[in-house]
Symmetry: C2
């Protein structure tokens, strides 16, 4: 397919490279920042542009990898070209862009991307939705060209996925951050925690996280939890986070037992 | 060395196997549960016992891999043999066992172990402490036989490590659990989140977590956070966890900016 990429951030960069590697042709890369557009465009053999009026109509699909609040205005602008438009957001509903065009879909990669880190795109879950079955099938074909994990996901489900990803990815990274800060306060380096973090993530590749939960809250070890809260004296935010997560672990554990 | 293992749980199992593989001799495995002791003892070529009076004095070291609240009484009992005693707990101070014997140390593996999952022990951080320099050196030598990551860690630091591990491992696993529950509520499987979780953990192998934080809170994206809290209506515990962690991310982000 001939693909136009709107955006030049992390998602745009990884998607464009994956499309290119799968044999598709990247027509143009648009970004408000011409330097950023040029870097990506050069990499995938496309034309770099920084003015919306220069976005060409001779393409098969516009892939929007831009901020959520910029999507509606781009869809409205591009809809005059009567080509397929797909956004890549976890949070924006399909209904919201159908107001401007019926030729629309969603191409949402459920992954966290960094520009400097390679990702095996074949393992990235791609969540597809379309205004009609033909659009959905077109987007599914395109998705299968670059990934082995293609799912049909409606707008309501996609929002839940996005929320679940905030817990399992964004919040998890912040817990790593808290761990690093606690160690730094006692002259220890984050390297000491890295193997534990790797193993914790590795464990759930084959298990359900509920089945491998460990720690003081899981054992209902009141004494250790009290000691930990005392150690966090002067850090009320961390005390709150510690208490809330521990209580939720205990509550889950009880529910699990009741259900047995 | 001739090593006696007190305990037959996850830590005992992985430690005994690592010692055996490194060429040490496991003399006995003690557990209140003879079946459990026998399983491990058979695996490492040791004698299985379930009565403390059968613990033999002809050994070089007793490794205690038992519950925290059982450590003191075992140390007191074993101290009559005048052999080196090391416990493997993150939370029990060295001072607490020095009351019974001067021949004591700590051999704390900072890792989460499951009986059914292999761990590359050479990567497990081993945190060593001893009542004197000779004991510390003996335990360090033993530690280096089975791991490349050996650290000297005093009791205060070890307690901080244990606390940091609760955040980075136990609480992280619970966030995975929350992610799975949210998906299940919308007919989606945990497989969809697994690649994201793997990548989130993989990212911090070479980066500091503070430098790779992403998500609505990091962007201060009020609208998405409000939407997420609405989606969690009827789940006040998850709303609290969402709010607390988001606020802490925002606060950290501001501190970081102020420090620039």
């Amino acid at each position: 397919m001939r693909i136009t990429i709107i955006g030049s951030g992390n998602v745009a960069t990884h998607l464009a490279a994956a499309f290119k590697n799968a044999g598709h042709s990247i027509v143009q890369v648009y970004s408000r920042n011409l330097h950023s557009a040029s870097l990506l465009a050069y990499h995938v053999g496309a034309e770099a542009i920084d003015k919306t009026e220069n976005i060409r109509p001779d393409t098969d699909i516009y892939i929007l990898a831009i901020k959520d609040d910029a999507i509606a205005s781009f869809v409205s602008r591009l809809s005059t070209h009567n080509k397929l438009i797909a956004h890549t957001s976890g949070a924006v509903g399909l209904q919201e862009i159908l107001k401007s065009t019926p030729n629309a879909g969603v191409f949402y990669p459920l992954q966290t991307f960094s520009k400097t880190k390679e990702v095996n795109f074949r393992e990235v879950p791609l969540c597809i939705d379309g205004a009609d079955e033909a659009i959905t099938k077109t987007l599914e074909r395109l998705a299968r060209d670059i990934s082995n994990n293609v799912y049909r996901v409606n707008s309501a489900q996609r929002k839940v996925l996005h929320l679940a990803a905030v817990f399992a990815c964004n919040f998890t990274n912040h817990l790593y951050n808290i761990g690093e800060q606690l160690l730094a306060g006692s002259d220890m380096g984050f390297d000491m925690l890295r193997p534990l973090i790797a193993e914790t993530a590795d464990k759930i590749k084959k298990h359900s996280p509920g089945g491998v939960q460990t720690g003081p809250a899981m054992r209902n070890d009141e004494q250790t939890m009290q000691t930990h809260l005392q150690m966090l004296n002067g850090k009320p935010d961390l005390q709150e986070i510690y208490t809330r997560l521990s209580q939720d672990i205990i509550k889950n554990q009880n529910t699990r037992n009741w259900n047995k």
